[in-house]
Symmetry: C2
Subunit: 246 residues, 2 copies
Amino acid sequence: MVNPSSEEPAGSVSAGGVRARVRAELTAAIKDAARRQLATEGASALSLRAVARELDMASSAIYRYFASRDDLLTALIIDAYEAVADAVEAADAAADQRDLEGRLHAMASALRNWAMTHPHEYGLIFGSPVPGYEAPQDTIDPASRVPIAILSVVIEARRGDAPDASGPPDLAEALAGLNGFTGGLVTTVVLRDAVAAWAQLFGLVSLELFGHFENSVAPDGVLFDHAVRALANGLLRNEAALEPPA
Amino acid sequence: MVNPSSEEPAGSVSAGGVRARVRAELTAAIKDAARRQLATEGASALSLRAVARELDMASSAIYRYFASRDDLLTALIIDAYEAVADAVEAADAAADQRDLEGRLHAMASALRNWAMTHPHEYGLIFGSPVPGYEAPQDTIDPASRVPIAILSVVIEARRGDAPDASGPPDLAEALAGLNGFTGGLVTTVVLRDAVAAWAQLFGLVSLELFGHFENSVAPDGVLFDHAVRALANGLLRNEAALEPPA
DNA sequence: TGTACATCAGTGAACGCGCGTTCACTGATGTAC
DNA sequence: TGTACATCAGTGAACGCGCGTTCACTGATGTAC
């Protein structure tokens, strides 16, 4: 019922506007407190009562802003998706648009930086799904912004590939869901490489953040940097798309 | 205090052996019930009381087998690491040892298959860390078996690379933690590619399993197959190790 | 083989806790005339 | 500008629940002589 993300309904600009602004502020304060709690307790331990406690209000008051715990969680998830996407897209926009390798590197670094500075929010959206929580439709669009940003650069780089090398039909079918994003501008082999690249970036960040690089890879991002450069180097030229002799 | 994984202490073979065997069986039954619960509720909702309920015993009885909830969780985590590792290593062993690409493909497929058939156990070890749970030392060795198996094939394939192409010193430093595993048999550039490959496999499996491929990549593993073959093809030859023009 | 003792497995009650959500309510803020 | 009414924000008590862990205990199983 409560829909805090919708704009205030039309009404008296001064009076109604005040109420709406206060409401928006408290909504944000609740989400901030929830985020803070996320950082110390983890997603599934997120508690409405604890959030209310931090804000010095009755636990029942939260229900004026979010219909349920899951609603609050959904809001946090959407915010997190938007936040990483903002960071990644901003990094892309700040780069020389002609330097595709530079853009890819900038986006990858932005992704890793955001993850390192918001580890629990990253885990919320990129870790194992929260048990019992079913992601609603509203999360789909925000969730696709980052992968789309990365795919886009690859597509731009490889648009010129000969269309006769369009790859095996079963692969095309497996990637059919991406046609809406790519507009068929690119061969399926390139698309395969682009998805694999996104998986590698996601994998490097997640492995590090989730502790799987402990004692084996330094936490300074040097490996990440080199790996991304190598990835971009292979990906944005034709070499990496070589098919097995088969 | 309770250490269910240790073998039975020396004693009368018949009598002591019976008690120990019964104990081992119940320990396994507890872990099975816990795993079953994991599958429906997720890791952080794992409850000793629910496990006890499923086994028709008093909740306090669990404490004869595991000192605490965290101890049980640790046992499940270790089991899960061992189980994936067993699957991956078995797939490797079953392949023609001379066909390195085949071995890599076999291991990758085993990883994905295990993940698909044990999604919550996969999430337990490869998802976001369970809040408040600190992984003890005993998890380190089992956790490294899979990455080591994968690195090993790459190392074997690329052992002959010219040692003068040993790569930038900062990269060598970042990967110094891996020296114990590789014995310096391989250049740091190859090592970088190997880690990136592991990250890509992990990323492909995790993205799919955690729902990030919904509506974009078919769930039939066709993309995975093609991506792995392309990865192996590039990785096990020299081409993928080409450095950027600097 | 038989007996006295020690060890172990499992019970059930209890402690203290926190949780999500509902409900009837009080005041304050906004709206319509 | 003033008044009557509607809407909204926030309260505090309560419901019913499940949790991890401890404790003193009862029987059964194993051990030593």
